[in-house]
């Protein structure tokens, strides 16, 4: 039984068809890396899964919640699947703790004390329990991204979407974020991540999707995809020449 079902999804921006019929099923606990050149549609696909982009054809569902374009269905879907962004997108006027508390209180109507306790737990989980009262601009990029992860986790999603979450970070900060993601994967969180961290994809992911020109060009376990790329496009992308 799949947790995330993506069926024949097509997406156009004007005349430009960026997704040309995508089919991916993700099982619970799977960690899926989506790789590919820029413009291959990988970020768009991820953004379609929680409705940040509307799809033109096909269907997407997460744990039974269908992607439909009205606010009620979108909310139900987004409660099941969290998202982490390349630019962190923390709320600048709120402390780290408040960032994690806000949506619990606004969306789930969680009482403040309970939301605060959850925020503390989640910040500790990403190693930032001591930064509860710090504002985003007092945190490093890596710390901000970990707060963003805590913020998504506090909504207790079944799956997380990660959109190039380390691409905006200084190289020395990448590992602290990836360590958190690796831990989540170890705990059985279902993850779909667009990434350029090939070594991470190889070590942590259960499956790798290579996207090319709006299609799933190759898909398989990392050892297969990385060690034995079948198509010339993937070979070229990985920099392997046979």
């Amino acid at each position: 039984m799949s947790l995330i079902e993506i069926t024949e999804v097509k997406k156009r921006f004007g005349d430009n068809e960026v997704l040309k019929g995508i089919n991916i099923d993700v099982a619970p606990g799977e960690v899926v890396a989506i790789i590919g050149r820029s413009g291959s549609g990988k970020s768009t696909l991820l953004r379609c899964i929680n409705g940040l982009e509307a799809i033109d054809e096909g269907s997407i569902s997460v744990a039974g919640a269908q992607l439909l374009p009205d606010e009620l269905h979108l909310k139900a879907l987004r409660l099941k699947v969290g998202m982490i962004f390349q630019q962190f997108n923390l709320f600048p006027h709120l402390t780290a703790g408040r960032n994690v508390m806000l949506s619990q209180m606004v969306v789930k109507k969680t009482p403040k004390a309970q939301a605060e306790a959850m925020a503390k737990t989640m910040l500790e989980r990403v190693g930032l329990g001591h930064k509860f009262d710090a504002y985003p601009d007092q945190l490093s990029g890596g710390q901000q991204q970990r707060v963003a992860i805590a913020r998504a986790l506090a909504m207790q999603p079944i799956a997380l979407l990660c959109d190039e979450i380390t691409s905006a970070l200084d190289p020395e900060l990448v590992s602290e974020v990836l360590a958190v993601v690796k831990e989540l994967a170890g705990e059985g969180m279902t993850l779909m991540m667009v990434t350029h961290e090939m070594r991470f994809a190889r070590d942590v992911c259960s499956r790798v999707v290579f996207m090319h020109q709006g299609r799933v060009h190759e898909i398989g376990p990392p050892e297969e995809v990385f060690a034995n790329p079948k198509t010339p496009e993937l070979q070229q992308f990985l920099g392997v020449t046979h």
Partner: protein
């Protein structure tokens, strides 16, 4: 120059001035608070609201921004009674100031909203917040922070503009100065004192708005 300055009338007429100051402050407080609230609502409607609502708000904003405040005031106080809408001079003055600041505030606040990075809306949405919830909890405060100096200036302008309400016999500071001048024939002294009081009020208001900004918006510390 053989004009002898005489401020002796202050001893007699200071209660008139105090009353004028109180009314000017009341107009500014009510006009400022409700005007900003109206401005926020209109800015939301114009920037993020439903499509059918936008032309109405745009029409209101353009109407107010392209007509004199004095005419707006006269219309409310002298014009509306023809339609059976009657109000006292203070109510009319308050209403005119709210409507006036609402329109100017709308455009200033809208600029702040439109400078919001798209990622803030997406983060709100991805956490399950509705568009209105995202606006209220995520977008509004940073948007106000961006335009706070401009909005503060507009509120000060509206306070100074409130001098016009003396024309419908609302007994504000300008009314008081006119009244004293007509009784004492000390035009220079009357308006000189009124000028000083307006100056002090404007500076104090600016400082107060600055202080309000400090409490509304978190301090930015350089990393």
């Amino acid at each position: 120059m053989n004009y002898a300055f005489d401020y002796g009338w202050l001893l007699v007429y200071w209660p008139v001035l105090v009353k004028g100051i109180a009314i000017t402050l009341e107009l500014t407080l009510v006009g400022g608070a409700l005007g900003v609230a109206l401005g926020i609502a209109c800015a939301w409607a114009r920037a993020l609201g439903p499509g059918w609502l936008r032309p109405f708000v745009a029409a209101y904003v353009e109407l107010i921004r392209n007509t004199p405040f004095l005419i707006q005031l006269f219309f409310i106080f002298f014009g509306l009674p023809a339609l059976g809408v009657r109000m006292g001079e203070l109510e009319a003055a308050n209403l005119a100031m709210v409507i006036n600041l609402g329109a100017y505030g709308c455009e200033i606040i809208r600029a702040g909203i439109q400078a919001t990075p798209n990622g803030q809306f997406e983060a709100g949405a991805s956490l399950g917040m509705s568009r209105l919830q995202t606006f209220w909890h995520v977008v509004l405060i940073p948007a106000l922070q961006r335009i706070w100096p401009a909005l503060s200036s507009q509120i000060v302008i509206v306070m100074l503009g409130s001098a016009a309400v003396s024309q419908i016999a609302a007994e504000d500071l300008t009314f008081a100065a006119n009244f004293i001048q007509s009784r004492t024939f000390r035009a220079f002294e009357s308006y000189f004192v009124a000028t000083l009081i307006y100056l002090v009020l404007a500076i104090a208001l600016r400082q107060a708005l600055r202080g309000l900004g400090w409490t509304l918006f978190p301090k930015r510390t350089a990393r």
